[in-house]
């Protein structure tokens, strides 16, 4: 429970101090609004921190703590701002963008794969995607300390920013015409968008992408785990990079 902050005062203090990274604030639907709660919502909004209202059952695991119907989930790492990332020079760099990956173990495995493959950063949205939590940190096997995680409020805006900064954007889509290895990933900065296991990449992002690619399936069974799908693609980019150097 060292990644949860309980109760109005503690959550408000964390927001004011600003030294701990808050993934999300969860507020019970059953608590009454008061000045402290209003202040918390106001601070969260101005800091771009997601807060959501939940039924009291959501608080059952924390029954032994004095949570007063409000908790803040804390990230074990500091997230990086996309603007700060883009300010630095990048040369033949790569990014992975996650659009709706909900499983902590998958995010942990993805972080490991990205570090091994020399990816420069991972972009996650602040909503509808798992955040970095204690399980992610553990399953990343230490990799979390070797790669920046960039959190954004809007993936559409993030992809637009990347394109404006001359990054090429590749989205994965099961119905794409090109296979992932038909693209030449050398001599450019590129970002690969991976979607949720069932829904895939959002339509709004597919529209923005410069390329859409699929992983060809040799059997009529299209259900690759997202971290395994990413691994196939990202190590193809490594193969291309290393083959070019020879």
């Amino acid at each position: 429970m060292d990644d949860i902050i309980f109760g109005k005062n503690a959550v408000m203090e964390a927001l004011i101090a600003g030294d701990r990274e808050i993934n999300k604030i969860i507020i019970s639907k059953n608590i009454h609004s008061d000045s402290k709660l209003n202040k918390i919502k106001e601070l969260a909004k101005s800091n771009g921190i997601v807060f959501q209202f939940a039924a009291k059952e959501k608080f059952l695991p924390y029954a032994e703590f004095n949570h007063q119907g409000i908790i803040a989930q804390i990230s074990p790492v500091k997230y990086l701002d996309l603007d700060d990332f883009l300010e630095k020079p990048h040369h033949e760099a790569s990014l992975v963008i996650l659009d709706g990956v909900e499983d902590s173990h998958n995010l942990g495995a993805i972080i490991r794969t990205c570090v091994c493959a020399g990816v420069s950063g991972i972009i996650i949205p602040s909503r509808r995607n798992v955040q970095v939590n204690a399980t992610v940190e553990k399953t990343s096997a230490g990799a979390i300390n070797h790669i920046p995680i960039i959190k954004v409020n809007s993936l559409v805006n993030a992809v637009q920013k990347l394109k404006n900064s001359d990054w090429w954007v590749v989205a994965t889509d099961a119905s794409a015409k090109d296979n992932y290895y038909d693209i030449n990933y050398n001599d450019m900065n590129f970002a690969i968008i991976m979607g949720a296991e069932h829904a895939g990449v959002s339509k709004s992002l597919l529209k923005l992408a410069d390329f859409t690619v699929k992983i060809p399936m040799l059997k009529d069974f299209n259900s690759l785990n997202v971290s395994n799908a990413l691994s196939a693609i990202i190590f193809e980019t490594v193969r291309q990079k290393l083959s070019k150097k020879i």
Copy 2:
């Protein structure tokens, strides 16, 4: 608990009937030998079923069942015999051999990847590797029904048999000279050996392999999840296969 059989009589009946696939029989160190127990051990031995002795703490999760200090873990699928697999003709087929993969989620993800990549079968050893259990079945997302799982008592013997049947054997090893994409996987039947995440592939298997290959790491961080490592390699073989056809 629908994949556990409890008690001497039930375990013995399952062994005699032979219609359910037993992964392993676990016997409490605290129970006394008697004729039934001897019969169980004898039947297990003659059917090549692993049995092991465990401290009574191992039985705590089953306290509500009348286990009498003996349980049998049941597989949700029937395993295939390697000889039966090799009897059929194979042309440019592939196998994945797991040497010490202990995590159920990893095996589930590996099964999904193998089905998507058209692998013909997965070989697991009866000891020191996770068996197919309810968690594996669930995380395979249905893939378990689309690929044979071949269980063998000795991986060394299995690899020898494959080599005698003109299969080529590729082992993964972090200190290998060749990268996995330096091999031409076309025009042959091949088997890829994946090792435990920390220990890697056993020395006895590395010696037998026709090729050893590594996945090149672009960062000094060599800790890929085994299902992600396999995915990179197996989809390279798919790429080669499909590129050849063009």
